[in-house]
Assembly symmetry: C2
Homo-oligomer: 384 residues x 2
Amino acid sequence: MRDVSVIGIGQTKVAEHWDRSLRHLAGDAVLAAMQDADIETADALFVGNMLSGLLTGQEHLGALIADFVGLRGIEAVKVEAACGSGAAALRMAYAAVAGGMHDLVVVCGVEKMTDTVNAETTTGLVMAADADYESIHGLTFVSINALLMRRYMHEYGVEHQDFAHFTVNAHHNAAGNPNAMFRNRITVEQFSRARMIADPINLLDSSGIGDGAAAVVLCPTNRAREYGNGRAVQIRASSMATDAVAVHDRPDPLWLSAVEASASRAYQQAGVGPRDIDLFEVHDAFTIMAALSLEASGLAERGKGVWLAQAGEITREGRVPICTMGGLKARGHPVGATGIYQVVEVAQQLRGDAGENQVPNARLGMTQNIGGSGATVITHILAA
Amino acid sequence: MRDVSVIGIGQTKVAEHWDRSLRHLAGDAVLAAMQDADIETADALFVGNMLSGLLTGQEHLGALIADFVGLRGIEAVKVEAACGSGAAALRMAYAAVAGGMHDLVVVCGVEKMTDTVNAETTTGLVMAADADYESIHGLTFVSINALLMRRYMHEYGVEHQDFAHFTVNAHHNAAGNPNAMFRNRITVEQFSRARMIADPINLLDSSGIGDGAAAVVLCPTNRAREYGNGRAVQIRASSMATDAVAVHDRPDPLWLSAVEASASRAYQQAGVGPRDIDLFEVHDAFTIMAALSLEASGLAERGKGVWLAQAGEITREGRVPICTMGGLKARGHPVGATGIYQVVEVAQQLRGDAGENQVPNARLGMTQNIGGSGATVITHILAA
């Protein structure tokens, strides 16, 4: 299979875009990425989205967005894997380019979560869980994560406040990202005092939902110099793994086996280990997911994810910088777009374009996008 | 890229399965296909589905179905392209196998359209159209097709009754298919007297919605002899093209340019022409779509699709047998599953397993799955 590079990136600000429809958001990101790559056409478009059907009465986003951005006629399709939809679309695009089906492919993650007509986002997000065995009993997506967090605190003797530094770090980094939703810095005390959402998860444990779109352009690495002014970054690994959707079906709810499988395959493909990763865009939909992901990815020992954060190792100056542009928590989490935002941000870091958020000497960046509470996990490793 | 073969097929009956949930239907089809291929594991699962989020509150079908069929952990994802979701999933799977990413892949199309809790199927199906410019004005999916049919009748001087033979043929063939939904034969007179749905489309112009699932197993052709008792059929071509979603955005609404692009690319890849096709599973969601598809696929002249049907050329004994197991009209149209049913049926024909519906000397079969009113078109050509 061929090596694949990212030769263009684009993103909208994550916000409540009351004046922008889903197709406008997607169009802004796609056209920015195509301009960045200096291309005017493409062979195919892959769209990552989870909620447009339920929330806006619109499916069929592949053809819709392809036409809207001036690419009428090309191959175009939507890929869905709950909150992992963005990176799942990227992986399908990666397969098409690596395998030789296409040379020039655009991937767009987009989600429109405010100003919706048909349903509440809470109804939408729980579609990531098991409808017949979880949500039917009244569980929401946040309450499933609350059960995990409570179990973690019980098993490992951790207090709620011990999770604070995930949020402090995310907001600190978002302050330097003009595309982030929440750019206010917060303190440990503010974290502890935040309003309870689903005990023990409070408002500042939770990522913010919003509207947004991000896009990347891929091509074979050996053609990357034709485009993008020599600023390509290479996809060194791409992997996807799954687990039971219902958390109660897993033998050990506190061990995200799909994270372990996806990350270890990615390390193997890239020929690196966890210690070689210079920054990690982790799927911090809730602080508990950040802790569990760091552990199953081999970046912290089991039960020690929160201590990595407390020790300052997740900051830009630490051993494993995470959420370097704000993460899901503070950049915002437009669910189907998040996986592409992560890749765009890693590309910014590897290009040296992250401004005041630049991680020094960033050569190898990892992204991990998760659908559900760990049921679908897509990991990518990118290199400068 | 590697040649790819279908080494296993499975399907449920299309029906109102009040006692079977979405995952049970998918499981039945997947396990049947895996048994047919004589395999017990797979590298990846691709699911085609359009409506499960809106109708049953369940997204994230990749991980959900992988786990349910005993494949917990494997790569799994859902692909959506409205009513073309099934074949779109097949195409992603084809890319993964042809490109070398995976060796053994299962593709499942599934749709649960009855016994739903959240919304009506009419609300669901119109998500294939343009929400901001078509459905917002009250157009349903059938009424969009009714406008096309009215225009066709006006442009080409065709009467409604001239479309009858598409339906007569479909029901005739469904009578011999135990998995079909409507196995009653009908007459031209019954067609003409049928209840009006959206003028000029009546009940017997319209395919029947239902619950169902179909599945196929793919592997590289050079490994096909290891599996499936030597009954593999080869995928000789796979192609996808798109068009504007909103019909009013197309320069010529009666010419399905995405059908033309997709079919002509498929002919080119397979090194054949329209006259070499022994049978064609066409996307006859409505009789008008069958006529337009035959024309843009090069199997009838422009404006002459209905005459091909009237002349008996679409029957099993004709020049271009279509809907050989009942088609969308009479086998039934569980939307996200339809594209895989088409491939399963062509495989049955090419294996010589179509029973009383067998097309004599079937060597080359084409399937064409359409999302929306021609906005996404996926064509596959298979060979014995």
